[in-house]
Every structure is written in C-alpha cells, then in structure tokens.
Symmetry: C2
Amino acid sequence: MTSISELGEFGLIKRLSKDISIYNKSTVKGIGDDAAVLSYQNKETVITTDILIEGIHFDLSYVPLKHLGYKAVIVNLSDVFAMNASPKQITVSIAISNRFTLESIEEIYKGIKLACDTYKVDLIGGDTSSSVTGMVICITAVGEADKNKITYRSGAKENDLICVSGDLGGAYAGLKLLQREQDVFRSNPEIQPELEGYDYILGKQLKPEARVDIIKLFDELKIKPTSMIDISDGLSSELLHISEESNCGCRIYDQKIPIAEETHAFANELQIVPITFALNGGEDYELLFTISQADYNKFRSNPDVTIIGHITEQTKGNYLVIGEGSEIEIQAQGWNAVKNN
Amino acid sequence: MTSISELGEFGLIKRLSKDISIYNKSTVKGIGDDAAVLSYQNKETVITTDILIEGIHFDLSYVPLKHLGYKAVIVNLSDVFAMNASPKQITVSIAISNRFTLESIEEIYKGIKLACDTYKVDLIGGDTSSSVTGMVICITAVGEADKNKITYRSGAKENDLICVSGDLGGAYAGLKLLQREQDVFRSNPEIQPELEGYDYILGKQLKPEARVDIIKLFDELKIKPTSMIDISDGLSSELLHISEESNCGCRIYDQKIPIAEETHAFANELQIVPITFALNGGEDYELLFTISQADYNKFRSNPDVTIIGHITEQTKGNYLVIGEGSEIEIQAQGWNAVKNN
C-alpha cells in the first residue's frame, strides 16, 4: 500500500489523471493547467455541482469506494439530464484524510472513470486536498443543449400530464436494508448480512444510473417536456419545486406511482407503507417531468415512463389522491442533508 | 441566532440567494433549477475548481468568516486570470456542521458576494450540506476568453523573460504572524495579539486580491504572455510547472524577486531568509508569466510587474542565481495541502 503523503499532491494528480480518455470535441484542454478550456459553439452551457460528505451522504462502512465514485458522478449527470441537456465534462474535487492509501483513492477514481466512460463525459480537472477527518467529494458537471430544448422547472401548465421515469423509492429501500444489516452486524459480528434477493434495491442505492435514455427518447419522439426536475430528494419535494416554479398546483394518484416489486416487499417487511419510500425517500435519480396532453399518445405505452397525475391551477394546491378519492396535501419531507444531523 | 436546521436546506438556499446581482449577459439562468444555464457565444470557456477544508486551508480561530468567503472566491478567480481569461460565474458548495448559525453562514456569503460584486462575477448555483465535523467550501469558477488569447503553462520559449506581478511571500508571512500570535494567546489569554504594523502581510493572507489589473494591462499593451500560471503554491513550484509544461529550463535571480518591506521585516524577526517565503510560501495569488524579449520595453518601467529571470533550454535545468553568481537548483517545496497532515 502506498501512502498519499509519499506521492504529494502533484504526484497524486499525475497518477490519477494518467489514463483519462477525452470523448468530446468541446474539451479543448483538460487536466494540467490553471483551468480547463472548453469550446461550446452555438450551444448553451449548463453547469451543476454537488457536494458529498462522508457521514452525511455516504457511509464507507457499507459503500464500496468504486461505487461511491460512480454514484458521485451520476448525481451530477442526473441534474444535467434534468435540464434536457447532455453532460460533456466534469471536474472532481476530493478531500481525504491520511488514513486512505493511494490504492483506495484509485478505487474511487475507477468508479469516476467508469461513469465517465459509460456516459462519454470528460474528466477535465479538479482539486485534491487532505482532510482532517472525513472524506469529501465535490463534482461539477458541464453540459450542452440547444437553446430551445433546455427544460426548466418553471414551464408546467394547467392540464399538463405529470410523468416519472422508472420506479421510485428503491434507493431509499436499499439504504434502509444496508442500515438494517449493518445494525445486525454491529450487534453480532458473527452474523453475515442478508442481502440476497434484494439486488434491485441495492443496485438503486449503490450503483444508480442517470436517465440518459429518457433524454434520447424526448429527442426521438420530438417531445419537449414543459418542465422537468430530477428526483433526488423524494417525489413530494420535487413536485413542490415544479409547482412553485411553475405557479401551479398538482394532483397525483397513489395507485399510479411506480414502485418496484422488491421495494414493495422490503417496505412491507419493515411495516412501512411503500408509497412513503417513493414520496419521501431520496436518491432515486429518476426524472419527473410534465408534458402537454397533446403528447399523451407518444408516452401511453412506454414501459419506462409512467403518468402519475396532472397539473392544476395554483389555487387548487398540491394533493395526493388516495384510493377512491380522499386527498392528502403533499408536503416536502424529503431527504434533507441539512436536517440530517 | 437562528439554527440552520430550523430553516432546512431549501430555506437556507432561499435566504442566501435572495439578494444576488447578475452582471453578465452570459448568465441565462442562475440559482433555482437543476443546473445553471450559460450562453458563451464565440468565446471559449474556462473552468476551474478549488476545495477549501477547515483545518487544512483555513483556521477559523483567526480567519473571520467574511474574509474566508471572499478569499475562497479569489482563489478561483486567480486561476481564471492565469488563463488570460475573464471570470464570469461561480458556483459555491458549502458543508457546515450544526455548530454554525444562519448568521455565521450569512457572514461567509457576505464575503462571497463582496468578491462577486468587486469582480463582477455571478453566483449561479451550488450546494449546501451539513458536515459531521469541519467546514468545507468548494467553488467552481467559469470564465471566457477569445480563443487566441488563452494562455497556457506550456508556451514559454528559450530567452523569454520571466515576470511576476506584485510581490511574493507576503501571504505566507501573514500566516506565520497569525500563527505566532495564536500560540502566544493560547499560552496566555491575557496577552492581546500584536498585529500592529503588519497590515500589508495580514491583508495578503486574509484578504488577497486576484490580478485582474494585469490581465487588463495585457489587453491594453497588446501583449500575449507566452505562458502563465498563478502563484498559489510558492514561486519554486510554479516555475517548475512552467518549465515542465513548456519543456524548458529557467534562471531567476534572487536580487530581482520582489518582496515587500513588511515581508522582509517579519522574516528577519523570525530569523528566516526572506526569499524562502517567496520561493516556498503559498497563497500569494500573483501571476507568474513569460513574455518574449520583443515585449521587454512595454514592461520595463511598470511598477506592478518585475522581470525576475529568463527561460533557458531544458538541459540547463532550473536554477536560482544567488548574489554574484552561485546557482541553486530550484526544487518544489511549496505549500502542499496533501503533505500538510
């Protein structure tokens, strides 16, 4: 094992950046100068950033380092897709305490590079630092889009259909499962974690993907959503963002919210109503978007997209319709990093 | 005093972003969506990022929060200027433990916004998180430049003149002074810190500026430096970056290195050779650049720029010429965050 201090900052940067592939013409200069240089001709640029803190966003006792690197990238790409844009570059800043070896940092970068390869995104720079205690990963993603395709949270109109990609609550179920097994392990280290049969929710938590396929679908079907946001803090919280920014209300139907079988099963095991995971769990990285009714037929039979409700006028508020018609006001109880400690 | 958890993440973001001014046309959409949207027409984009960690890069026992916010921005703008580019936007990610109140976060943002106002840069987004222990600030800066003006580390040619802006070693002297007075205070809290007469070095440490004036000067004088880098890790380290990237060597002259009177005086007080602060101290945020000899007359009598040496062929190595001619090989012993713990 190699200690980071042996290498020094510049040695570390050289080591980590030695096998980086550049996929995009817009990357003029990547790692190796005071700043990276990009060239976006006739496109608009989108930029987003996320900070992940050990002990708040991830727990290294059950998250493999490679998965952590992968997910840290995905979180940001998801924000770019939520603008109906294509991610092209990322910068990665990492702070690590000296308990980590070079090999463990390389594991994180393996995950980062795998995400870059999968999504054809260029790693163009960043910063490395020591940390007095926990690990910090801060990623900024840059993407491009045609001006007329960029989709904000603010464009939803009355009667628009509310859609989500994939299914919801799985990532939170996966987190709960990992936490449960960790508790069991801590109380009795002899007991091996029981993770079998839960591949799907574990995958949603540990190795989420960002919905590039949905962005491609919009392009193929010639649809521009009227509004869009990615679901990182739970459906409730994201719906309220759309309503607030679009000055509208919404009605969604509990029976329509897509929840995977495993998520259902695990929620039942914990004696929690499964829809709670979808509404208030976080980290699904699915897309929530609205389309005009005219586009209904294009999505009607698409297995990757579910219509869960519709937009109303603002005075009608934001409600979840339960079963035969009772309504519950939607409140943001989402996964909230600031409230978590 | 208001606790952060009362507000929640979204309340905090709203509060912090309520009085933000937008100065640049290239900012299409700032805070408030999944990503910010920028429009850079016919320009290249530069992007740089820095992560600042409590206990590594700053010590809250002697750095006022507003100064910390200001400096965190400056560090990044300096990297943009070092590309001969103009900074236009920043994103700010902050992680804070719950020992901080809303008021203290607002102090940091006052500094961030003051830097934005001073340099006409738009705060377009970011992320806020809690932290289990220390504070983390990660800033990404985006800037623009004409394609033919962007200046890399790699363009220095034999016989080019090596120049630095301002003076060197002051920020490190300021840090040493603060640390000394802290040690005194800790051993006897009755004794007040003696900081009088050291305004200049304290200012260089606590409220550095980025050299926008030098970039403007290049423009006015119609000079394009052949290479450039900002001095954040000490002159030695930065010179070696230029030599390595430009495949050249260098000779600099100890008598030529600009050091302020206060820096000199404080180094003497500590019985340290003042040039050590310039060579190996960090955080000066001055610019180190090379120009062709043909541009010599344009800079000859400029008080903000000092010619400290020249570029040689690579086989001649990198040397500091002392006094009448003895030569010392330049080695990077710069301020190195990774080695610091």
